[in-house]
Amino acid sequence: MAANEIDVFANEEKRTLDLGGHVGFDSLPDQLVSKSVAQGFCFNILCVGETGIGKSTLMNTLFNTTFENEEASHYESDVQLRPQTYDLQESNVNLKLTIVHTVGFGDQINKEESYKPILEYIDAQFERYLEEELKIRRSLFNCHDTRIHICLYFIAPTGHSLKSLDLVTMKKLDSKVNLIPVIAKADTVSKSELDKLKIKIMSELVSNGVQIYQFPTEDEAVAEINSSMNTHLPFAVVGSVDDVKVGNKMVKARLYPWGSVQVENENHCDFVKLREMLLRVNMEDLREQTHARHYELYRRCKLEEMGFKDTDPDSQSFSLQETYEAKRKEFLLDLQRKEEEMRQMFVNKVKETEAELKEKEKELHERFEQLKRMHQEEKRNLEEKRRELEEEMNAFNRRKVAAETLMGQALQGCSQPFKKDKDKKKANLNKCD
């Protein structure tokens, strides 16, 4: 569809025409600017660095304000990311600033997994934007763009070179986000050491293929300043929110017994350069790069994963719609299959339970029968014993009666001649007992 139309245009010659007078479309940039100012801008910074290296202080110094931030502890079990969003305003330009800090980075004893939460966060923001883009009803201009526009990586000034963790992390991040390394706490590195350190760091980055963000040099207006700044990378920064009296001015500085390090003094550190580059000159370029390069790369990889292609093996273009429908059908079939499986499982389970219950019932029955039998036996035994006892009692009673009658007869007759008989009978009685 679109491909054919473009072909038609390519055949026609493009002609430039001269204008007879002032038309007025040179105000287009101004219209664009006033529209975007009305809309407001949004900028997202990711600060990666060890605990206590000065990320929050640098942010406070850069934006000349105090963002609330509690001190992190060294004992987090893994790396977490803490995003915070602020609304700033400067001479009628609104900026929605999101600062994401890494908490617990570099504190664990085993740091092999430290880069993963950072990558996941960056990907999640891209995913969010991609979802919004693929929606049926989308509101891209309204949605809050949370994709990370710049990642400031804070290098600890050990004086020799990068740490192994720094190298590993930067290698993973350079293809996902605009990466700018900064040397933190630079007031611990003297001038000569600083030059050596910068050279060493840059050479290590280059030899390991880490692509840091280069300030753009195509635009003539800023080409010169950008290319000179490129040679000063990585910037050695010092942050401070305390005001110190130097001369007769109050400046932001750090006060030591041997002198004071002024943050905005270019001889002392590169803070001014960083602010210039980051905020005053290249902010828009950073946003563009994020959208045009990093986000597009992510999108392409993601869609390819899902099975979408631009051209199939026969180099005939696919339409997104068809692929999407095919995928959908597959997905639904899959779902159905899974449902069937689950139903089967459910039925099986029910049968099993039923069988178990039946067995248990049978067992109970048996036991019941057994007990009943025992009960009856005992009852019979008891009955027998009772009968025996009764017989004995009857026998005893009869004898008793017999003995009494005999005694009565004996008494009626003479007592003495029958004494012997009596004794005999008594003896008999005794024997009978």
Partner: protein
Amino acid sequence: MIQRKVTDFYECEAVTREHLAILSQLFFRLPEKQYVGFATLPNQVHRKSVKKGFDFTLMVAGESGMGKSTLVNSLFLTDLYKDRKLLNAEERINQTVEIIKHTVDIEEKGVKLKLTIVDTPGFGDAVNNNECWKPITDYIDQQFEQYFRDESGLNRKNIQDNRVHCCLYFIPPFGHGLRPVDVEFMKALHEKVNIIPLIAKADCLTPNEIKKLKDRIREEIDKFGIKVYQFPECDSDEDEEFKQLDKELKECTPFAVIGSNTVVEARGQRVRGRLYPWGIVEVENQSHCDFVKLRNMLIRSHMHDLKDVTCDVHYENYRAQCIQEMTSKLAQDNRMESPIPILPLSTPDVETEKLIKMKDEELKRMQEMLNKMQQQMHDKDQ
């Protein structure tokens, strides 16, 4: 280079002479007592020890780039680390910890010191630092074992003492306190060696921040139960000034240190220091850092105490543990021969014998009662 301020032993000698003078005066005041002369014992000890020479083994541990080598050079005013090869970040991803020893003989005012520095390159540098302190603990145990064997051997004339007397642990100043790897390292080593924690690169902290960090670290050391080296209490009859100094010293731990290999010009003098665009940090200026306190403590006053604690506490613990393990092993396996003659332990046996006898009697009584009861039941049945 050697003509500098007083060393430990020079001071000791002066004090001894003073004491000797006072004592001799005392003796001369009491006409009944005659001067015997054993008051010269300290002098004799001094002479002999100077002749014998001293040795000291110092271990430095901490991540790469903390300034360990610079500090050692500043402490002993020599350059121990010529031609050192530093690894790249890439090579350090999977680095294992090595143990490297540097031994130097230095001399000052006739006192010879054989100084051994044990370096631990690679500690904490890899991405996965699980048990990265194991090579270090193994090394310390090895030295203890070596000394143990030598001590129990037949010929004990020339025992070489390679035991580690002190370990300086460098804590990075960039964080808020101790990190998990610091805690684990110190806990693994605190019963084997005297640990002195130091805050490295202290020129990145303002005085307030240093105070906060020191308090934090002391708190965490207490919390995790880490036993760092404690300065011995000073005697009650020392003068107030000494006690005050001692108290200040103890409150200053852990020391915040700065080292430097270069000499700069400051306030008209040439001093060791670091040159910044905003000022000059002097290593030996007490208001800049605690380097002087560390040096005094380590070299000038407590070097011998460190050695004593190592011998009397850490080594003895190791030895006791070793012997216990050996005896329990022997009890199980009679065929094994022990290189060390073990005396028969009589007391525990007697006790156990008694217990066994008692239990036997009880058993017999219970058996008899059972029999009686059985008999009774039998009778009843009949």
